[in-house]
C-alpha cells in the first residue's frame, strides 16, 4: 500500500471486479472459438477485448486501456466485421473445416500454457509483490518518457518503438500497393 494515497480513494471491491472482468474475458474467448457464425465470434471477441481493457484499468494503466478500446475494439473489430459481413455466412457455417492444422495449433497452445504456468510459478520473482505506487494521473507521461526519453536522453524503448513503427509503415505501403491494378 502506498501511504501517500488517500485511504478513501483506494479502489473498492477490487477482487470482485477482477473476477467479473476475467470471467467475461474467458467466456468471450471461449465463444470466439466455439461459434460457427463468424459475426457472433467477432462480437464475442469485442467483449473479450473490452474486458481486457477493464483489466488494464485495474492495473493502473489507463492509457493502455484507452488505446485498447480505440485500436482494437473501435478500429480493428469494425474492419473485421466489415470483411466478415461480405462472406456468405450460411455457406461458410456449413463448410467442413478444410485445413489440417490442429496438431500445430495444439503445440502452440501447449507452449502458451507452459509459458503461463511458468509465469505463475515464478511470479514472485518476476513481478513486483506490491501495488505500483505510480500515480494514475501521470501514467501517460510515464509511457511517453519511456518511449521517447526525457529532455536530451533517449528513452528505454525508443529503438524498439521505432522498429515497430517501421514495420507498420511497411504493412501500410504493402496494402496501398496491393490496391493498384498492375504491380
Amino acid at each position: 500500500m502506498n501511504p501517500a494515497m488517500n485511504p478513501s480513494s483506494l479502489p473498492v471491491g477490487t477482487p470482485y471486479f477482477f473476477y467479473v472482468l476475467a470471467g467475461l474475458a474467458i467466456a468471450g474467448g471461449v465463444l470466439v472459438i466455439t461459434r460457427r457464425n463468424a459475426v457472433h465470434s467477432a462480437l464475442a471477441l469485442i467483449v473479450t477485448l473490452l474486458a481486457v481493457s477493464g483489466l488494464y484499468l485495474m492495473l493502473y494503466a489507463p492509457f493502455v486501456a484507452g488505446v485498447q478500446i480505440i485500436v482494437y475494439a473501435g478500429g480493428i473489430m469494425v474492419l473485421f466485421l466489415f470483411v466478415i459481413m461480405l462472406v456468405n455466412i450460411d455457406r461458410a457455417a456449413k463448410d467442413r473445416q478444410f485445413n489440417r492444422m490442429w496438431p500445430v495449433g495444439l503445440a502452440a497452445a501447449c507452449v502458451l500454457l507452459a509459458l503461463f504456468v511458468s509465469a505463475i510459478v515464478k511470479g514472485k520473482t518476476l513481478f513486483p509483490d506490491r501495488m505500483m505506487s505510480l500515480p494514475e494521473s501521470s501514467n501517460t507521461q510515464q509511457i511517453a518518457s519511456m518511449l521517447y526519453g526525457e529532455a536530451g536522453k533517449m528513452g528505454q524503448y525508443t529503438f524498439a518503438f521505432e522498429i515497430a513503427s517501421l514495420l507498420l509503415l511497411v504493412a501500410i505501403l504493402g496494402a496501398v500497393i496491393m490496391t493498384r491494378k498492375k504491380i
Binding site: L43, I69, I70, G74, V78, L81, T140
Partner: protein, 432 residues
C-alpha cells in the same frame, strides 16, 4: 446511515469529480445527465422538425399541443406502442443487441463530459481518449444492425457507414491531437488528456484553442467540425441512411421501440461530439472573456444571462399565447401555452434571484449555486449552437456522393490535418 449520506452532501466533497467520496455525487450526476440528455433529445426532435419546416416555408407540427410542443411526447408514445417486428430471416440475438450497443456507446461517453470544473461524473486522466474510443464503438451497433437485418439495403447502409466512420475518425483524431498539443504550452511543458484539464489549460493560457496559433487552431477545429458531422451520420454525410437510395439504410427493418433507440443514440452522439468540440476548442464551461473582463461587475452581468435567456423564452411563449386565434377551439391550447410561459417565467425569476443573491464571490450556498448554474449554462448554450448548426447543415446542403465523401476524407481532410498537427508542433516548440 444519515450521517453517511449527509457527509456526501457536504458541498466541499464535490470539489473534484470522481475523487474521494464523491461516488454518491457521481451517481446523482449519472441520473441527472441521463434524464437531461433524453429530454434534450426530445426537444431537439421538436426543434429539428420545426426549424426544417420553417427553412422550407412550412409550419411543421402544429396539431399536438400549441405549436406542436407535445409532438415528441406523442411520437414517443406511438413508438412505444407500435408492433415490434423482427424479420423471420434475421439473426434474432444480434438484431436484438445492436440498438443496445449503439445506445450504450452513445451514453457511456457522458461519463467524462465536463459541464463545469466539478460538474462531471468523473475526471478521467485519459478523458479524451476514452471519449474517442467509446464513441467509435457506436459504429459497431450500426454495422451489426445492418448485417443482422439480413436484407440488402441495411447491409449496404452498414457497409457505407463503417467505411465512412473509419475514414473520418483518422482526420478527427489528428485534429484532436493538435488541440492536445496546445495544452502542453505551459511552464512545465506537460499536457493533459483530461477533459477538465484541457479546459483549465485554456483558462490558464487565456485563450480558447480555436484562436491559438491562428489559423492553426481554427483549421483543426474546422476539420473536427466537418468530421463530427460525418461521424454522427448526419446530412450532408448521411450516406448510411440515404433515404433516396437505401430507403432508411441500416435501420430499415427496425420498428417501434428499437428504432427509437437508434434515434436516441444518434442524437445523444450528436450532443456528445459537440461537447468534445466545445471542450477542446471553445473553452468548455467558460463564459466569454473570463480573463479580459474579470471584474466582479462583469461576473454579475454574465451571471444574469441564464435568467434573461429563460425570460426571453417566456416572452416568446407569452407572445404566442396572445397571438393565438380567439376561437373556442384553441381554449385549451392557449391555457397550456400560458401555463408553459408561466413556468418558464418562474424559472427565469428563480435564476435571476440566485444571480443577485449569489453575486458576492464568497462560499455561501447562493454563490456556489450561481457559479454552477453559470458553468452549466454556458456549456449547454454552446452545445445548443452546435445542435442548431446540425439542423442548418441538413436544411442547406445536398447529400454527397459516396466517392466524393471518401475523396474528401482521405485526400483533403487527412493531409490538412497532418499538416496542421506538424505546424502546431513546430510553432509550439519555437514559441516555448
Amino acid at each position: 446511515m444519515p450521517n453517511f449520506v449527509m457527509s456526501y452532501l457536504d458541498p466541499s466533497v464535490t470539489g473534484t469529480p470522481g475523487a474521494a467520496g464523491s461516488q454518491f455525487w457521481a451517481l446523482i450526476y449519472v441520473f441527472i445527465i441521463f434524464t437531461g440528455v433524453s429530454v434534450a433529445v426530445m426537444a431537439m426532435n421538436w426543434l429539428e422538425r420545426k426549424a426544417l419546416a420553417h427553412f422550407q416555408i412550412r409550419l411543421g407540427p402544429m396539431r399536438v399541443g400549441p405549436h406542436g410542443l407535445l409532438q415528441p411526447i406523442a411520437d414517443a408514445i406511438k413508438l412505444a406502442l407500435k408492433e415490434d417486428i423482427i424479420p423471420a430471416e434475421a439473426d434474432q440475438f444480434v438484431f436484438w443487441v445492436a440498438p443496445l450497443i449503439g445506445l450504450l456507446a452513445a451514453f457511456a461517453v457522458y461519463v467524462v463530459i465536463p459541464f463545469g470544473p466539478s460538474q462531471a461524473v468523473s475526471d478521467m486522466n485519459i478523458g479524451i481518449l476514452f471519449m474517442l474510443g467509446v464513441s467509435s464503438l457506436g459504429v459497431l451497433g450500426i454495422v451489426v444492425a445492418g448485417w443482422a437485418s439480413n436484407s440488402h439495403y441495411p447491409l449496404i447502409g452498414a457497409l457505407r457507414s463503417s467505411a465512412q466512420m473509419v475514414s473520418y475518425e483518422v482526420a478527427m483524431g489528428l485534429a484532436v491531437v493538435s488541440a492536445i498539443l496546445m495544452t502542453s504550452m505551459n511552464a512545465s511543458g506537460t499536457g493533459t488528456l483530461s477533459m477538465i484539464g484541457i479546459v483549465q489549460a485554456q483558462q490558464q493560457q487565456g485563450i480558447w484553442f480555436i484562436f491559438k496559433f491562428f489559423p492553426l487552431g481554427f483549421i483543426a477545429f474546422g476539420i473536427f467540425a466537418i468530421a463530427m458531422v460525418a461521424e454522427t451520420n448526419r446530412a450532408p454525410f448521411d450516406m448510411a441512411e440515404a433515404e433516396s437510395e437505401l430507403t432508411a439504410g441500416y435501420h430499415t427493418e427496425y420498428s417501434g421501440l428499437r428504432w427509437s433507440l437508434f434515434m436516441l443514440a444518434e442524437y445523444a452522439a450528436m450532443i456528445s461530439v459537440s461537447a468534445i468540440a466545445i471542450t477542446l476548442w471553445l473553452g468548455g464551461w467558460m463564459r466569454p472573456f473570463p480573463n479580459l473582463l474579470h471584474a466582479p461587475a462583469w461576473d454579475f452581468i454574465f451571471s444574469l444571462f441564464p435568467g434573461l435567456t429563460f425570460l426571453g423564452l417566456a416572452a416568446i411563449a407569452f407572445i404566442g399565447t396572445v397571438r393565438m386565434p380567439a376561437h373556442s377551439f384553441f381554449r385549451i391550447q392557449r391555457a397550456g401555452l400560458a401555463a408553459f410561459a408561466a413556468v418558464l417565467g418562474f424559472i427565469a425569476l428563480l435564476l435571476l434571484v440566485i444571480a443577485v443573491a449569489g453575486r458576492s464571490a464568497d462560499a455561501s450556498l447562493a454563490a456556489r449555486f450561481n457559479q454552477g448554474i453559470g458553468y452549466v449554462y454556458w456549456f449547454v448554450l454552446k452545445v445548443a449552437v452546435f445542435m442548431y448548426l446540425f439542423i442548418w447543415y441538413r436544411a442547406t446542403w445536398p447529400r454527397y456522393r459516396f466517392d466524393q465523401l471518401m475523396r474528401i476524407g482521405w485526400k483533403v481532410m487527412l493531409p490538412i490535418a497532418l499538416g496542421v498537427l506538424m505546424l502546431t508542433a513546430i510553432v509550439g516548440v519555437m514559441v516555448s
